[in-house]
């Protein structure tokens, strides 16, 4: 069982604060009266709503279909009636509202008929579609659609499947408790993932501060007769970062912007593996998850919570203290401050922390950077964080990118150790936001420029085409004229075509008009009786009067036509 482990640079050891929430088993949180299920619960595109207000839904019924390749379905977390599909406050720091399905529960919690497939004999594409439609996403917090990761690397194989049970963030124990209590399901999920990835080995990495979880997982692996290795990894934040854990277990460093599959490794959270097991073995979509409630509460613990449950209702189960100022989703290192207490629990919610001034004291005043390089020593990505800070401060974004700003995983180690109390990560977020905004602006400007250039090009082209047409016509006429000239010498003498083509054209046109007039002269009215001729003359005068009256009306639509020519061009092919 002795495996050579690798280490990643830096990292920190904040107080883990995990023991308080692991004293009692996972409890089921009660069904709330009203659930808010946001449509956007995975990385990528939001789901597309499939239900309408007033519609009855059963637990596990699909209420939103995956909205694209990188998206996952969402389901009714319990049975009830859809009250609305409208923007609602979502657990995001911005405080923005996003479309959500609002369900009033009927308290029966009645399951819809489960769907089953046998993943062993079903084509992989269909299994992936099934997982997508079961709404399975990465439960470690990134909510990456799991089906997109359930494919082997190059050559149809994967060397190593890594199961991430490290759970390095302080306070969070949902994976710990899941491994202690439902290890069998996790191992079953791991077996499914191994099958899908055609993985040669399965490594389950767990930080060594969770001996109960390690023991439970080892026992489950042995009981299932599986060849999987449970590896205790040193407790050091952020060992639970996917790339850090891959590094520790395999020695492979997956660079920023590249996929681990290309290096023969794929990594899933243990909770995700459990959801895969539930979806494919039990036919149950992802409608609930384990959430740790901790921080400024009397009884920290873990709950199985329906997606869409308001956080304040969940926290109420644990006896929140009165001086709680706000809620944090996630841990103290990377968590997100919630814009309100009643935002819903979503698939990304691994932990809800009640924050007060004692637990999360207000930031001390920011002092100048003294270049002590503590941040560089702590950075797990081996960046020079203080350089990024200087570049961000001076808005030297080009330099910041040159110094690998986008390799930063925002783990917070640098800000944690900074003796000058500089909120370093905020500076990187600012820089990244500015760079993205500038790129969007640049893209928009590029598009506008391209459009403008194309419009000019098109106008030029139309002009040229018109000119070419005219020239062709003129040439044709000239040729006719020349032909006529050889036949009728007097006409040629009147308009010397070779010397002045313009004059020749005019002469030709005049000649044509004359000829037409001459042709028109004998009309069929000529041989009619005078009475009829008078009638015709009468009709003619009336028609002229009508035409004269119609002139102002017919000019009216003209501006519209002019507008139409100014309409934006259609996108280029």
């Amino acid at each position: 069982m002795l495996r050579e482990l690798f280490r990643f640079h830096g990292g920190v050891k904040p107080a883990t604060n995990k023991s308080a929430s692991t004293t009692s088993p996972i409890a089921k949180a009660p069904i709330p009266a009203r659930l808010v299920v946001p449509l956007h619960q995975s990385l990528g595109s939001p789901a597309i709503a499939l239900v309408e207000p007033g519609q009855r839904v059963l637990k596990g019924e699909r209420i939103g279909a995956a909205g694209g390749r990188l998206s996952a379905a969402i389901h009714a977390p319990t049975s009830g009636v859809v009250r609305a599909v409208e923007p609602a406050l979502v657990p995001h720091a911005s405080g923005l509202r996003e479309p959500a399905v609002i369900i009033e529960s009927d308290g029966e919690d009645r399951w819809a008929e489960p769907e089953h497939i046998n993943y062993r004999i079903t084509p992989p594409d269909e299994v992936r579609d099934f997982v997508r439609d079961a709404g399975v996403v990465g439960l470690g917090g990134a909510v990456f659609p799991t089906h997109q990761k359930m494919r082997p690397g190059s050559g149809g194989k994967t060397r190593t499947l890594v199961l991430n049970g490290a759970e390095c963030e302080p306070f969070i124990t949902c994976d710990d408790m899941l491994m202690r209590e439902r290890a069998d399901g996790i191992v079953s999920g791991a077996a499914i993932l191994r099958h899908m990835l055609q993985a040669e080995e399965v490594l389950i990495g767990i930080e060594d501060n969770k001996p109960e979880a390690i023991a439970a997982m080892r026992q489950a692996v042995a009981a299932a007769g599986e060849h999987m290795e449970v590896v205790a990894v040193p407790t050091r934040y952020p060992a639970g970062g996917a790339k850090q854990l891959i590094r520790v277990l395999t020695g492979i460093e997956v660079p920023h912007g590249e996929r681990s599959t290309d290096y023969g490794v794929q990594c899933f959270n243990v909770g995700t593996a459990y959801s895969v097991h539930e979806a494919l073995e039990l036919g149950r979509p992802l409608v609930s998850r384990i959430v740790t409630v901790a921080g400024n509460v009397e009884r920290p613990g873990n709950y199985e919570v329906l997606i869409g449950t308001p956080m304040d209702e969940l926290v109420r189960l644990c006896g929140p203290r009165a001086d709680t100022r706000f809620l944090v989703m996630g841990g103290p290192m990377m968590g997100v401050r919630m814009p309100a207490f009643d935002v819903p629990v979503v698939k990304a919610t691994n932990c809800v922390l009640a924050a007060d001034d004692k637990l999360f004291p207000p930031a001390p005043p920011e002092q100048p950077c003294i270049r002590c390089t503590e941040c560089a020593k702590a950075c797990p990505v081996e960046l020079q964080p203080f350089e990024l800070y200087w570049f961000s401060r001076s808005k030297n974004f080009g330099k910041a990118q040159e110094y690998h700003l986008f390799d930063c995983i925002e783990c917070g180690c640098c800000a944690y150790v900074c003796p000058s109390h500089i909120p370093l990560v905020d500076y990187y977020r600012f820089s990244k936001g500015e760079i993205w905004a500038r790129e969007r602006e640049k893209a928009a400007a590029d598009q506008a420029r391209e459009r403008f250039e194309f419009r000019n090009f098109r106008q030029e082209r139309e002009k040229a085409e018109k000119a070419a047409k005219l020239a062709a016509k003129a040439a044709e006429t000239r040729a006719k004229l020349a032909e006529a000239g050889t036949a009728e010498a007097p006409a040629a003498a009147e308009a010397p075509a070779a010397e002045d083509p313009k004059k020749a054209l005019i002469a030709a046109a005049l000649a044509r008009a004359k000829a037409q007039k001459a042709e028109i002269q004998p009309q069929n009215t000529d041989n009619l009786s005078p009475q009829t001729q008078a009638e015709i003359a009468d009709i003619e005068t009336r028609r002229k009067a009508l035409e004269a009256a119609a002139v102002p009306a017919s000019t009216a639509p003209a501006p519209q036509a002019a507008d139409a020519t100014d309409l934006p061009d259609e996108p280029r092919p």
Partner: protein, 338 residues
């Protein structure tokens, strides 16, 4: 706090500076015991001047005074200025040094964290250029009473050529320059102890103790002291072996002058030094090389201060050229560096 992380390690600039001050105490105690307590008077003068100047400059720059004065960085600067000055310089020289360091070198460049040069070393260099005689009067161990020292510091009496000797480095240099003596012959003189200057060698030991404390507390990294000591020892060993008559031994170089103070407290100044691991090695090694060259071939007996300033100038280049590879771009990591 609005954004993560919401927790912080219990560290601060004040704590860092406080630990540096604490680490200086063994050297200061040895200094006061062996050379005389004059150094304590000078420490008091420089501290008061530096803190006052810091507060005034912060006020003039419209910055919050209390927090910045409370970070103790001005006290560290003041102590380092004093410790690299002779302990019996007149009070006004100490005041000048502290003012140069705080006002000109630190605040005119933007305050804490912004100065490209080491404040204490600029103070030392400007004073030794302006007052070469005063800055060269180093009392030998235990020969000056406290009263005499106090009179020299506070009074104007400067008729002390009879009682202050040259430093070990100075004596060696003068001896060798006369062309008649070898290193061994010079070292017989009264200015020298077992290793370097008599008495001063024990002060060096005090600084080493403080430096090891800082290493243990992870306030400084091993890179700079090791590179500085390593290069100084390496190059002096090489030349000493080649010609022991003309070049002093590595032990002499390490134990003399401000070598140990520099190795652990001056070279390691984070603000004006290199920041990358390789950059730190080159920076400290470069200082040692320049110091040895000046000690042997230059116009001044001690060259560390000039070495520090010259290498300060190279810091942006060193940092830029020695950026370490980031995660996923190591050549040796499996899968990385492809």
């Amino acid at each position: 706090m609005i954004h993560s992380p919401y927790v912080r390690k219990a560290v601060s600039v004040q704590r860092t500076m406080g630990l540096v001050l604490l680490a200086l105490i063994p050297g200061i105690v040895a200094h006061a015991l062996l050379i005389g307590p004059g150094v304590l008077v000078n420490l008091a003068i420089s501290t008061i001047t530096a803190v006052g100047a810091e507060a005034l400059m912060l006020h003039l720059r419209k910055r919050p005074v209390a927090i910045a004065v409370g970070d103790l960085s001005a006290v560290v600067t003041a102590w380092l200025v004093t410790l690299c000055f002779p302990p019996i310089v007149p009070w006004w020289l100490t005041v000048c040094g502290a003012l140069v360091a705080i006002v000109a070198v630190k605040h005119l460049y933007g305050g804490l964290g912004q100065n490209p040069f080491n404040p204490a070393m600029i103070a030392y260099c400007s004073m030794i250029v302006a007052f070469p005689a005063l800055m060269s009067q180093w009392p030998p161990a235990g020969q000056l009473s406290f009263d005499t020292q106090l009179a020299l510091i506070l009074g104007g009496a400067r008729d002390i050529d009879g009682i202050t000797g040259a430093t070990a480095l100075d004596a060696l240099r003068t001896g060798l320059r006369s062309g008649t003596q070898t290193v061994d012959a010079v070292l017989q003189g009264s200015a020298f102890g077992a290793l370097g200057g008599r008495g001063w060698e024990w002060i060096s030991v005090g600084y080493v103790a403080g430096g090891l404390f800082l290493l243990a507390k992870r306030i400084i990294t091993w890179h700079m002291p090791l590179a500085f000591i390593g290069v100084l020892a390496g190059i002096s060993t090489l030349f000493w072996l080649l010609d022991p008559g003309r070049f002093a031994s590595p032990l002499f170089h390490l134990a003399s002058g401000g070598a140990m103070l520099a190795a652990f407290f001056i070279v390691t100044d984070p603000v004006s030094g290199a920041t990358t691991p390789r950059g730190k090695l080159l920076f400290a090694g470069g200082i040692a090389l320049i110091a040895w060259l000046i000690r042997n071939f230059g116009a001044y007996p001690e060259g560390i201060a000039f070495g520090v300033l010259l290498m300060n100038m190279c810091v942006p280049l060193l940092d830029m050229k020695t950026q370490p590879p980031v995660f996923g771009h190591h050549k040796d990591a499996k899968g990385g560096g492809k």
